[in-house]
């Protein structure tokens, strides 16, 4: 099975994700895949959910926090500026408080809370999480290519969704019970109607957003998740562990791409011992990869002699991955 065949056999898979340890080539593959799909005539958005995004570097354009930027016809790239989104969000909350209670300024205690909340470590992830929902809900593109965060974060991302979901179920139940007591009191006091609980509808909204975004990550029909691995001991072990964890969260795994393979033909040439040893080590690890992952390995991508930045190099990478 090859990468291009996966795409032609499963045209319904519209959310494309690359996951793996940091620095193995997720951004490179995301960019190259988006490029290839755009060249096939699809409208594609590649976007980064990593706070330390590097799409700007690979496309050699400053796209950070600028929304979807057109890189070439059909190809758009976006880096989410989480800080900016948090600032806007804080502004919205302040405005809502001022409008609701007709205040001139937010009470100090409340303002302190708004400030402190933004400094929490989970805030950035949640903000990006939420931004992704906006991007995907708009449905402006044929394909969405996610440049994912390194493994640990991606798992945190997924587990956060299920924790949030359970948490919201619990407090929704509490809120509903509160509503019942309110109604009992209203009946006793012969009040015709009790006020509608706005918090309850707000909770429903939050729940829907969370389900939507984690639903995409685990959608067996529309999502294709590829793991990036390199022929090195640690990377293989970590990837296997991560694949197990992802499977537990129901992420539909489409296959593996092996990156940074030193061309074996070099062994025929007069090369230094250093490189010869690396080649020997690599063939051992490649054997392990083929034995354990077998037909799930979709492509072996060689180590390039140059950095992959700029469209001509991305094109070269796309040719290597998808074959011309």
């Amino acid at each position: 099975m090859s990468l291009s065949r996966i795409f032609s056999e499963h045209p319904e898979r519209r959310y494309i994700m690359f996951g793996g340890k940091g620095g193995l080539g997720k951004t490179t593959f995301s960019a190259a895949t988006a490029y290839w799909l755009a060249k096939q005539g699809h409208r594609v958005l590649v976007f980064s959910v990593d706070p330390q995004a590097s799409l700007s570097d690979i496309f050699q354009r400053d796209i950070f926090g600028k929304g979807a930027v057109e890189i070439m016809p059909n190809l758009f790239a976006q880096e989410i500026d989480a800080d900016q989104r948090i600032r806007e969000y804080q502004g919205e909350i302040r405005k809502k408080i001022l409008d609701r209670y007709g205040m001139d300024e937010v009470p100090e205690e409340i303002e302190n809370y708004i400030q402190a909340a933004a400094a929490e470590p989970a805030m950035e992830e949640s903000a990006i999480f939420d931004a992704v929902v906006d991007i995907v809900v708009s449905a402006d593109y044929d394909y969405y290519v996610y440049d994912l965060v390194p493994l640990g974060h991606a798992l945190y991302y997924l587990s956060m969704a299920s924790v949030y979901d359970q948490w919201i179920d619990k407090i929704t139940a509490l809120r509903t019970e509160m509503e019942e007591y309110q109604q009992v009191a209203a009946v006793m006091q012969r009040k015709k109607e009790s006020e509608e609980d706005e918090i309850l509808s707000e909770l429903q909204y939050i729940k829907e957003r969370i389900n939507r975004s984690s639903g995409i990550l685990t959608d067996r029909v529309k999502t294709a998740f590829f793991f990036v691995v390199i022929p090195e001991d640690m990377a293989i072990l970590d990837t296997k562990k991560a694949a197990g964890l992802f499977a537990r969260y129901d992420v539909p795994l489409s296959g593996y791409i092996v990156n940074r393979v030193i061309p074996e033909s070099l062994a025929q040439q007069n090369i230094p011992d250093y490189l010869r040893h690396r080649l020997e080590m690599q063939s051992r690890h490649l054997e392990t990869i083929h034995r354990e992952l077998g037909s799930e390995v979709l492509a072996l991508v060689p180590e390039f002699e140059r950095d992959i930045t700029g469209l001509p190099m991305i094109e070269k990478m796309a040719e290597t991955m998808f074959g011309g």
């Binding site: 969000y89 804080q90 909350i93 809502k96 408080i97 609701r100 209670y101 009470p107 205690e109 409340i110 809370y113 708004i114 402190a116 909340a117 933004a118 929490e120 989970a122 805030m123 949640s126 903000a127 999480f129 939420d130 956060m160 949030y164 948490w167 407090i171 509490l174 809120r175 019970e177 509160m178 007591y181 309110q182 009992v184 009191a185 006793m188 006091q189 012969r190 706005e198 918090i199 707000e202 909770l203 939050i206």
Partner: protein, 91 residues
């Protein structure tokens, strides 16, 4: 004077209802509202725990709920941080 009679009867009924409510219903509705008040404070605790230094919920979504509970925050804090004594059991 059937009109006046009607009015008198209505006002008598209203008074009777109020007396009955005072005897039977008032305590129950007071209890229902008190329970609801306690739950409201529990709700704020699990959503806005950070205000007391108890982070319980990821803050992104708790901020969304903040505008609705602004008036309750100060009574809630007072209740959570106040010292308890024996008379609380009787209240």
């Amino acid at each position: 004077m059937p009109e006046e009679e009607k009015k008198k009867r209505a006002s008598f009924l209203d008074t009777a209802k109020s007396v009955l409510y005072g005897m039977a219903g008032h305590d129950m509705s007071r209890y229902a509202l008190k329970t609801r008040g306690s739950m409201e404070h529990l709700f704020i605790l699990i959503t806005m725990g950070d205000l007391l230094g108890i982070p319980i919920l990821p803050p992104y979504y708790s901020l969304r709920l903040l505008p609705y509970v602004v008036p309750q925050i100060s009574t809630w804090k007072r209740r959570m941080l106040r010292e308890r004594d024996l008379t609380d059991a009787l209240a």
